[in-house]
């Protein structure tokens, strides 16, 4: 228990150290790469993107491996920052709504399937097949049907969420201690009570496992829809900055960073909710008594 606690305290520090180390390696590699491929007289122009005389092969150097310090400054400089973060929030909003919708549907589907093996055997294969369809193909179709990018994003985010939630909830609802169930039987508890008082609470660790996976997947799902045709969102920013060429290299990479941070943020929120809801789980027990 002591070791676990020490690990938890050291956690943020370790993460920060790894981040710094990776940034340092990236900085070193990209500046070496930059210096090796861009002739000295074109360096300022390759970075600003404003000089049309810079040869094309030297312009794309920053697209491939940008200098991280310049990416960071693109994230905070007022010209880009507001636009980037706003786009990110638009994507995140749809992802979160889709996540909630997909979570509710996934949970409901599991509750339905756990009622009988027949229902499970007849429904689960379709849930599995649904995950064989590439989201990247589905995005434009959904968009063309609803003609609304918010609806499309929400649907795809829900689509990638429901499956892990269904599968894990199903397992959780079935993984109940037989004696805990026998206790309920001896108390002549109703079916509903068995669910509310026993099956659902004991399935929650499995549910949260799925929600953590779905948190990041729903953001990715929303971005994929944006890549297929949308007007707003971080995916749109990524696509456009890629089209508009090397001059936007830092904005592109900034958008990629924003997109990753959104997924990370969402994941953290779900993980914190898990910690609060499952205080009783061995991994979250505080050392007391």
């Amino acid at each position: 228990m002591n070791a676990a606690k020490r690990f938890r305290l050291a956690d943020p520090l370790a993460i920060l150290l790894v981040a710094l180390a990776l940034l340092a390696i990236w900085q070193l590699a990209s500046s070496l790469y930059f210096d090796a491929n861009v002739a000295p007289q074109f360096r300022a122009g390759a970075i600003s993107g404003a000089d049309p005389t810079v040869p094309a092969e030297m312009r794309v150097v920053q697209m491939k491996l940008p200098l991280p310090n310049l990416v960071l400054s693109a994230l905070v400089n007022p010209e880009n920052a507001a636009q980037l973060w706003l786009a990110g929030l638009i994507t995140l909003r749809s992802a979160v709504i889709g996540f909630v919708v997909g979570g509710v549907i996934g949970f409901g589907l599991a509750l339905l399937m756990v009622q009988s093996r027949l229902l499970e055997r007849s429904l689960l294969p379709y849930a599995i097949i649904s995950q064989m369809v590439p989201v990247i193909a589905l995005g434009p179709i959904v968009y063309s049907i609803f003609k609304d990018e918010n609806v499309a994003r929400i649907l795809i985010a829900a689509y990638v969420t429901f499956f892990p939630v269904t599968v894990n909830t199903l397992k959780g609802l079935r993984s109940v201690d037989p004696n805990a169930l026998a206790l309920m039987t001896s108390l002549a508890a109703s079916r509903r009570q068995v669910y509310w008082l026993l099956r659902i609470p004991s399935s929650l660790p499995y549910v949260f496992q799925a929600l953590k996976i779905a948190a990041t997947a729903s953001v990715i799902g929303a971005i994929v829809v944006e890549l297929m045709g949308a007007q707003q969102g971080i995916g749109v920013t990524i696509l456009r900055t890629q089209y508009y060429g090397p001059a936007n290299a830092y904005k592109l990479w900034g958008a990629i960073v924003v997109a990753s941070l959104l997924g990370l943020l969402f994941f953290r929120v779900v993980a914190i909710a898990e910690r609060i809801a499952l205080r009783w789980q061995p991994e979250f027990r505080s050392a007391s008594a």
Partner: protein, 273 residues
């Protein structure tokens, strides 16, 4: 010297019958290979009586407990509990069950665990609290009411489980090796506590155990069972005076009874090879 046994039998005559009656009960588990778990078991338990089932593994003592509690249906024979079928008795909530593991719900506090049966039975909140508090007092865990099960020792957890089983005042308490996972000292203390609780609640107790000393210390009668298939080998009266306490364990009569039970268990064991 009036023993608990004689008292409970008098009470039984007054209420006109056994609390639990098993008549020719057999149980076969079906499967790839059918297993004969119980063979024509007949047994009568009086209201308020403390009866222990003892025997080697595979003698069907836990199965017998589950048949009485309607957690399993017998293959043949009849079981009557307070004049009802086990199913009727279960539906009218006459069984409190205590397992070898405490089987506490981890997400509930000690208090909430004790309240669980009352919640299932839709007892008013205020009464739930009142009864749970009284029971936690009875098992000596009042100050742990707001703790979670994992913050308690194994012995304390099992006391919570007993409090939970008693919360709705069942007429029959079925206990399946409740102290089997505990150390000797804790077990002996909980044995004494159980007798105190029993004398206060007047519940009929059917108690499955592996421990001869425990069975002798607690019971009015001990049912020695033999394995494969499970049968009642012999039923022994325990006429040690009540109330029993630590001194009981030092009495010559206690040792004699322990020796007698051991003797029967050895015979059973030799016979089954």
């Amino acid at each position: 010297m009036a023993s608990g046994l004689q008292l409970s039998q008098t009470a039984a005559v007054a209420t006109g019958g056994a609390a639990i009656a098993l008549d020719d009960v057999s149980m076969t588990f079906r499967g790839a290979q059918a297993v004969r778990a119980l063979e024509r078991v007949s047994l009568s338990i009086q209201p308020g009586e403390f009866v222990s089932l003892i025997g080697p593994s595979g003698c069907g003592k836990s199965t017998l407990l589950r048949l009485i509690g309607d957690l399993l249906p017998p293959t043949s024979g009849t079981i009557t509990v307070n004049g009802k079928t086990p199913r009727q008795a279960r539906l009218s909530r006459e069984y409190g069950i205590v397992f070898q593991q405490p089987v506490l719900y981890e997400w509930r506090t000690v208090m909430q665990n004790v309240q669980l049966p009352l919640e299932v039975m839709r007892v008013a909140r205020s009464e739930q609290r009142e009864r749970a508090n009284a029971l936690l007092e009875l098992v000596g865990l009042a100050e742990f009411a707001q703790r979670y099960p994992w913050e308690l020792s194994g012995g304390m957890q099992q006391r919570v489980s007993i409090a939970r089983a008693l919360s709705f005042r069942p007429s029959v308490l079925l206990m399946d090796e409740p102290f089997g996972a505990l150390d000797e000292m804790t077990r002996e203390r909980l044995n004494r506590e159980l007798l105190n609780i029993w004398s206060e609640t007047q519940t009929t107790i059917v108690f499955v155990t592996h421990s001869v000393a425990e069975a002798v210390f607690l019971s009015d009668r001990i049912v020695v069972m033999s394995p494969r298939p499970g049968r009642v080998e012999v039923v022994l009266d325990v006429d040690l005076p009540r109330p029993r306490d630590s001194e009981t364990r030092n009495a010559p009569a206690f040792f004699d009874l322990v020796a007698e039970v051991r003797h029967h268990l050895r015979e059973v064991d030799d016979a089954s090879g």
